[in-house]
């Protein structure tokens, strides 16, 4: 669909903006979460690299507030606006995309997107990247099965139920369970991606299932860390715990051996790459139509981190080379299916 783009027509100056005219905006949920804070820091690092500053927006996990901020942003000067956005949920992506398209602002989204929304239908929505949640869920599921010796009971801590990430990851766990028939899922509860909730839920699950629990599968590291606390308080050190995101505390826990595995998602890189794609297109160094279709919606590279390779991930650094206009999609693991 060629969306009628009122502002688009006049700004689609393919010749590009002068680098100093580009406005860079990074938007995440909040800065009180290490992963998202590091994302914005990565964005700052990229902005510095090109001699600009990034406008840091946070919406406190509040979908409406995210929309409100973006429509306000798009009501301003959108000529050379580049946005690297973390939509709060799948349903928040379409209006952002439509808004950016109508205003002619360059947009890169990450993590959340409804499956039936195609990036290639839009001109200004340059790219959507995410990690393969099914894959991550499966990877840590497998790691967990291995850690408990291939058989035994586990419990799952789900994320916010209505997010794609939570669902994909859980689907991955189910795949893993299918492949490991001796591992039994005793219970699944949601702890809303929250460390504190995970603590309470895990405590309850521990009393409910007692020693049957051999492993805990958590849809993110925050919940895994909450579960670890619960285990510690219950005096249980025989339960394997896995998570996703590779937040610093989880890496430390893996180093210590208290946690089994996590999957990397590279916050600083994510914060930089989104801006970099937009910046390259805005300045004309990369033509939007030259981005291959498989790079419009793609899975980024991720790694299963366990004790043996954790040292490589302890201090993630952004590499300027990652953001070079000809190297933007080097971490792609292929188009989203």
């Amino acid at each position: 669909t060629e969306t009628a783009a009122g502002g688009g027509g006049e700004t689609a100056a393919a010749e590009g903006c002068a680098p100093e005219d580009v406005t860079l905006v990074g938007q995440v949920r909040n800065e009180s979460n290490p992963y998202e804070a590091s994302w914005l820091d990565g964005g700052d690092a990229f902005a510095e690299q090109v001699g600009l500053t990034q406008e840091r927006l946070t919406y406190d996990g509040d979908s409406t507030r995210q929309q409100e901020q973006i429509s306000q942003l798009l009501a301003g000067d959108t000529d050379c606006l580049v946005m690297n956005i973390l939509p709060n949920g799948d349903s928040d992506t379409p209006p952002i995309v439509e808004g950016a398209e109508a205003a002619g602002a360059y947009l890169v989204t990450q993590w959340n997107k409804p499956a039936d929304l195609n990036v290639t239908d839009y001109d200004y929505w340059l790219s959507h990247l995410t990690y393969n949640g099914v894959e991550s869920g499966k990877q840590i599921g497998d790691a967990l099965s291995e850690a408990i010796g291939g058989s035994g009971g586990i419990v799952a801590l789900q994320g916010i139920l209505d997010t794609g990430a939570a669902k994909d990851r859980f689907a991955g766990l189910e795949e893993s369970l299918a492949a490991n028939p001796d591992v039994e899922l005793l219970d699944d509860q949601t702890a809303n991606f929250s460390r504190a909730e995970a603590l309470e839920v895990t405590k309850t699950l521990l009393t409910k299932h007692g020693d049957d629990i051999k492993g805990i599968w958590a849809a993110n590291d925050d919940m895994a860390l909450g579960a670890l606390e619960a285990l510690q308080q219950a005096g249980r050190d025989d339960v394997a715990v896995v998570g996703i995101d590779a937040v610093p505390d989880a890496l430390t826990a893996i180093e210590d051996g208290t946690m089994t595995a996590t999957v990397s998602s590279d916050g600083p890189w994510q914060g930089g790459i989104g801006l970099a794609i937009g910046y390259c297109v805005a300045t004309g160094e990369l033509a939007a139509e030259d981005i291959a279709d498989e790079d419009r919606a793609w899975y980024a590279e991720q790694f299963l981190i366990e004790q043996d390779n954790v040292a490589d991930f302890v201090s993630p650094e952004t590499d300027e080379a990652d953001f070079a206009c000809d190297n933007l999609f080097s971490r792609s693991q292929g188009a989203m299916s």
């Binding site: 009180s32 504190a196 505390d249």
Partner: protein, 338 residues
């Protein structure tokens, strides 16, 4: 002219009934009965629920909420409302995490760090009180504002890196047990007793109660209510601060979101227990029963295996039903329900 002669011969002998009551009555028994019934139902439905370790677990899980509810009860007794728990708890959680032994700096203040965190929280609570009495901003808004301020302060201190604590004492609070219960649970119990003593035996507590009953009358009796209101909010802030410290001890890390959701769950607990929002009713003991009710409910629903999708809804339904059951026997003529 015979307007109204007070002649002795029209004198009337009193047929006084033993109506005047002291303190509690059977009418207040609703919530405890609801608690027992709920407990019984879950125990019957789930073998996991009625284990000793699960009862321990319920009590441990109630600890933080109980401390928050102690604070909020005084505010509710005054007829005010307090939504500042999330912000204040976040601020105190980060403060304490940065002051005791941690991975961000070389501080190792131990108990002093806890004290400072509680003081910071009390100061924030005091801010709510001042906004209420000086600026005359309704507590709903004043505390919502203070909550935002607290979260902002916490985020500033958080600065992108998770402070993890390694302080043995604080970590021990969550892990070490005494008579089968975690230290935190004992701390919570101490808080409940202290709060009850304050409510029963101090001017602050009784005036908080009286302010909820008839604020204007206190002024007519020459009592300046403003300082007491500020004091109540300050005390509530201190309780939230301690709760923030307790969450930090449980999680082993200072989280900005340490207090998320505690505002409404504490109010729910207090109201379910009989500390009504109109003020002048209920008290610490009632609120504590409410805390246990809510905690038993949360735990029981997981134990019984209600789908996570439905848990919130079932909980809401049961809370309404519990309050209805508690309220119906108390229905009085022309009762005002807000």
């Amino acid at each position: 002219m015979t307007t109204s002669p007070a002649e002795a011969d029209t004198d009337v002998v009193h047929a006084q009934r033993p109506r005047p009551r002291r303190g509690v009555s059977l009418m207040d028994a609703g919530p405890p009965i609801a608690l027992v019934v709920l407990f019984g139902v879950f125990a019957a439905m789930s073998p996991g629920f009625r284990t000793f370790s699960n009862v321990q677990n319920v009590l441990d899980a109630a600890a933080v909420l109980a401390v928050v509810t102690c604070g909020i009860s005084f505010v509710l007794m005054m007829g005010s409302i307090d939504l500042s728990a999330p912000g204040i708890m976040g601020a105190s959680a980060i403060t304490v995490a940065l002051l005791v032994a941690n991975n961000r700096n070389d501080n190792d203040l131990g108990l002093v760090g806890v004290l400072v965190a509680v003081l910071v929280a009390a100061a924030l609570g005091c801010l709510s009180g001042l906004a209420l009495v000086v600026l005359k901003v309704p507590s709903f808004m004043a505390t919502l504002g203070v909550s935002a301020v607290g979260l902002g302060v916490a985020t500033l201190m958080f600065a992108g890196v998770q402070p993890n604590i390694s302080d043995a004492m604080l970590e021990g609070w969550a892990v070490e047990r005494f008579l089968g219960l975690a230290r935190l649970t004992w701390i919570a119990l101490a808080c409940v007793i202290a709060a009850w003593l304050v409510q029963r035996y101090t001017r602050l507590g009784r005036y908080a109660f009286a302010i909820g009953g008839a604020e204007e009358v206190l002024a007519l009796s020459g009592v300046r209510v403003a300082p007491y209101k500020v004091a109540v909010f300050t005390m509530a802030g201190a309780f939230y601060g301690l709760a923030g410290v307790m969450v930090t001890s449980q999680l082993g890390a200072g989280l900005v979101q340490a207090g998320r959701g505690f505002d409404f769950s504490a109010i729910t607990a207090a109201v379910v227990g009989g500390t009504l929002l109109i003020g002048g009713r209920g008290g610490i003991l009632q609120s504590t029963v409410g805390v246990l009710l809510v905690t038993v409910l949360t735990n029981g629903l997981v134990q019984v295996g209600v789908s996570p999708y439905w848990q919130g809804g079932v909980q809401g339904l049961i809370v309404v039903a519990a309050v209805a059951a508690a309220v119906i026997p108390q229905r009085r003529r022309n009762q005002v329900t807000k």
